[in-house]
């Protein structure tokens, strides 16, 4: 035990004393200030400027970049591509619900092996694993087209150089890659459902399918809601899979861009930083609107116990 004076000092709650709070939050806040708060303000300002062809010598141009943004067709196609991708990749959520409920069947054998298999795609480096998918979808000798030809499809599309088709290949990879994480979250949700509910339902003669519909799904809705939010936000960030799938010199590149690819192209390939910054503000508004919509809609379908 320490002596009386220091004892008194400690009683004066050391957690509020002097420099400690500053010492604890200071390093993080400094970094956050420099690398996040300043950039978000800087980004907004950049969206009001125009730079020369080398990305320097910025001049204030007001809302010209935004006017440009809405006048150009590439924003329309990039928005449409992003929305289609996001909507379709959300299919991973119901698929994951089915997989997770099968995985959590009581006394299922091989559970941990299954779980690892479904989880592997989540670990894979997107640009590296997409190389396999590029071969799978390859127009000349890809497995998919070889299969399609074998079952009698005359001229299967060149998936990777046909504008709409590229997006579909990325949807497939996006779904494939996100099931693993979803299953982990849903499994945790499933474990928290009381077993007695199923026992009671079984006594009342409910079939497995009825139990799934009336117990499992409603009680999982908070996890499902969380995943649809995450999956939608992730969908709006589509870049890696698409960039890797298109590869270099792809004729379908321009028409297949997502919003983030449009941003990358504008800000860092053509060095039109002001326009690129305006694209990010557009993404920000769109994500906020869609997330707000989801939070509004959740009142109608999410059940909190």
């Amino acid at each position: 035990m320490s002596d009386a004076t220091s004892n008194r000092r400690h009683r004066r709650n050391p957690m509020t004393a002097g420099a400690w709070p500053l010492l604890f939050i200071g390093p993080l806040m400094l970094g956050v200030l420099v690398f996040y708060y300043y950039p978000i303000i800087g980004n907004f300002y950049t969206s009001l400027t125009k730079t020369n062809a080398f990305g320097g010598n910025a001049k204030f141009v007001g809302l010209a970049n935004y006017a440009d943004l809405f006048a150009r067709n590439d924003l329309k196609s990039a928005t449409l591509n992003t929305l289609i991708y996001t909507a379709l990749v959300l299919l991973a959520v119901p698929i994951s619900v089915v997989i997770a409920s099968l995985l959590e069947l009581p006394n299922l054998k091989g559970r941990s092996l299954y779980r690892v298999l479904f989880f592997m795609p989540y670990l894979a480096m997107p640009v590296a694993i997409v190389q396999v998918w590029r071969l799978f979808f390859n127009g000349n000798f890809g497995l998919l087209n070889q299969f399609l030809k074998a079952v009698g499809v005359q001229n299967p599309p060149y998936w990777l150089s046909t504008p709409g088709a590229v997006l579909m290949t990325v949807v497939v990879v996006g779904i494939w890659a996100s099931i693993g994480f979803n299953v982990i979250i849903l499994s945790a949700g499933l474990k928290s459902i009381p077993k007695e509910l199923y026992e009671a339902a079984a006594i009342d003669g409910a079939t497995a399918l009825q139990q799934f519909r009336t117990i499992t799904v409603p009680l999982l809705t908070p996890s499902i809601f969380f995943l649809t939010i995450m999956q939608a936000i992730g969908g709006f960030q589509l870049f890696d899979y698409l960039y890797a799938m298109l590869g270099g010199n792809n004729p379908a590149e321009a028409s297949s861009r997502s919003l983030v690819s449009l941003f990358y192209q504008a800000a860092f390939v053509t060095q039109n930083r002001g326009f690129g910054a305006a694209v990010t503000i557009f993404i920000l508004v769109l994500v906020a609107a869609v997330t707000a919509l989801q939070f509004w809609a959740q009142k109608k379908w999410v059940h909190y116990v």
Partner: protein, 280 residues
């Protein structure tokens, strides 16, 4: 009836579940398996019609070529460096700040924490242009530090750690303070060991993101010798478009470290991610 027999009968009743899970599992595993097989095939075998999955003789030379056509080792070390530094920095900085937000009283705490949460709401691209300009003005383009710096500070990690500290009973600290420990000692020796699962959750999410991320390093590095592996693979695939075997061998090696890491601590990774999801 023995319990073993009973259990097998149950599995037999589960046959539709097993069928779905096995088929799904094959779909999940197949790209990895096929990639490894192709990395050991000759290019003609990869492009064969009908498809040829097993090479006549394993072409280990594909892996040798990776080191000849790509500064693979330097890219590998860049990836290791950026991942280790960012993870270490986040663990220290996020847990310190998270602790202050959870336990210390100071003016503006609510406001500052709100500002941290606001970072999470904003799509990451909105920071990149100015971050690039900062890194450029610090002359850190084409360096690992340029890639590392912004990612050392994480709002998500801070949030996660704050939640972890809030769930601990306050009596622990009070007792340690009475024993004469100062605030830092209490934090470092008493409190941090109690939130290991959350620390692990922060570590695993940061490692995965840092190793696999493409957009930021693509912006910051343009020279082959300064790229991390993600950008290296993208560049390689753009350069040697038809050299499939080479691309596959490089891809396998780029992904391997994460898988080795995962298989050595599988359980904790899955638990860690479940924590990060439930609290996030």
């Amino acid at each position: 009836m023995s319990s073993a027999a009973k259990s097998w009968r149950q599995q037999l009743r589960y046959w539709p579940a097993h069928l779905v899970l096995i088929l799904g599992g094959i779909v999940m595993l197949f790209p990895f398996l096929w990639q490894v097989l192709m990395s050991l095939s000759a290019n003609v075998e990869i492009q064969a019609v009908p498809p040829k999955f097993i090479p006549d003789s394993p072409q280990w030379g594909n892996y040798v070529q990776v080191f000849e056509k790509l500064p693979f080792l330097s890219q590998f070390w860049t990836s290791v460096l950026i991942t280790v530094v960012r993870t270490g920095a986040q663990l220290v900085l996020c847990s310190m700040a998270g602790y202050a937000f959870a336990r210390m009283q100071f003016r503006g705490r609510g406001l500052l924490f709100g500002l941290i949460l606001a970072i999470l709401m904003i799509p990451g691209q909105a920071y990149l242009i100015t971050q690039y300009q900062i890194i450029k003005s610090l002359s850190l383009l084409e360096t690992p530090w340029g890639v590392i710096l912004p990612g050392m500070f994480s709002a998500f990690g801070t949030f996660l750690m704050r939640q972890a500290f809030m769930s601990l009973p306050r009596e622990l600290e009070e007792a340690a303070h009475l024993d004469g420990c100062n605030v830092w000692q209490v934090f470092w020796k008493v409190i941090l060991p109690l939130v290991k699962p959350s620390l692990f959750a922060v570590a695993i999410t940061t490692v995965l993101w840092s190793w696999n991320d493409l957009l930021w390093p693509l912006i910051v590095t343009t020279r082959e010798e300064s790229m991390p592996l993600s950008v290296g693979i993208a560049t390689l695939a753009g350069q040697y478009t038809t050299d499939w075997a080479l691309i596959m061998a490089a891809s396998v090696m780029a992904m391997a470290p994460i898988f080795v890491l995962f298989f050595t601590m599988q359980r904790r990774v899955i638990e860690g991610l479940a924590t990060s999801g439930l609290k996030g």
